[in-house]
């Protein structure tokens, strides 16, 4: 008689039950994983955006605009990233995706002008959306400003950065 490869009935039942539970929660796990990837990409975007703003290195067209209208932004400033949160905002029937809005909290000490802060916030939001689109390879679905950004099942927009 073959004594190997044998399992008790209880074990097989538990294993079968575990597999059933795992399969039924697969959608939920996939959804959570997608949200997790969105948030991780958002943090990467904040990192890049705040580095560019902090070191005052900008794309050509933005640089020209800042030098005329926001000269303060041509010199660097220290930006502290605090946190990023998401708010679920229902289902969008046009894009047939669930909608979420990202809100970024950051702090800056040396820029006081509201318009300048808005420019810095816009750049951070731009890199957040770009990073999400890159992670999900959805750059071809959106516009130049990556607004809105798309993941597999989500349609993502951003609030103005909250300066605290």
């Amino acid at each position: 008689m073959d004594f190997h490869g044998q399992y008790v009935l209880e074990y097989i039942l538990i294993l079968g039950f575990s597999i059933l539970v795992s399969l039924s929660s697969l959608t939920l796990v996939y959804d959570i994983n997608e949200l997790n990837t969105i948030m991780a990409s958002a943090r990467s975007g904040v990192l890049l955006g705040s580095a560019m703003d902090g070191l005052a290195i900008y794309p050509h067209e933005k640089f020209d605009n800042y030098i005329k209208k926001h000269p303060r932004l041509i010199t660097g400033s220290k930006i502290y990233f605090i946190r990023v949160i998401y708010e679920k905002d229902g289902y969008d029937p046009i894009y047939k995706k669930k909608k979420i809005k990202l809100k970024i909290y950051a702090s800056i000490k040396s820029v006081y002008n509201v318009a300048d802060r808005e420019c810095i916030g816009d750049r951070i939001n731009y890199y957040v959306r770009r990073s999400i689109c890159k992670s999900f390879n959805t750059e071809n679905l959106t516009n130049t400003y990556y607004n809105p950004a798309f993941s597999d099942n989500y349609f993502i927009t951003t609030y103005d950065v909250v300066w605290v």
């Binding site: 575990s18 997790n36 975007g45 990192l47 560019m52 005052a56 290195i57 990073s131 890159k134």
Partner: protein
């Protein structure tokens, strides 16, 4: 009976879970690595720019006769770049980006032009010479 070449069901389940976890993490990691590379590129560009500003100001402070030999790096993290200097500051261009670093208003020329282009992988002599009315000027010459 074949005692070799078989694995337990526990192992297979554990292996599948690990595999799933790793694939979901890879997307996040690759995105983060790309971000870190971009940030490093920006930081290196900024450091180069600030070094040049520091050298110009040091040479100016040193008075007439002071000079510095500046060797430009060939690339910034495998990307080509160019630097322009004029009396208001140092401008770096790489990819689609521009950065600037202001300098104290001083007269900088390369002989004729006041907009000086510093090219990658070239060497320059930055020197301080006496200009008219007891003022000094910085002259940048390609060696």
């Amino acid at each position: 009976m074949d005692k070799n070449g078989w694995v337990t069901v526990d192992f297979m389940v554990a292996f599948m879970i690990i595999l799933l976890t790793i694939t979901s993490i890879i997307a996040i990691i690759s995105d983060r690595v790309e971000t870190v590379n971009s940030v490093q590129e920006i930081v290196e560009a900024k450091i180069l720019e600030e070094n040049i500003v520091g050298i110009i100001e040091a040479v100016y402070s040193g008075g007439p006769g002071c000079s510095y030999i500046l060797k430009m790096p060939s690339k910034i993290r495998n990307k080509s770049y160019s630097i322009t200097i004029n009396s208001s500051g140092v401008y770096i261009f790489f990819g689609n980006n521009i950065g600037t670093e202001f300098i104290n208003p001083i007269r900088i020329t390369e002989g004729k032009h006041s907009n000086i282009l510093l090219e990658p992988d070239k060497t320059y002599n930055i020197s301080n010479t006496k200009f008219r009315d007891n003022n000094n000027e910085i002259i940048v010459k390609k060696i």
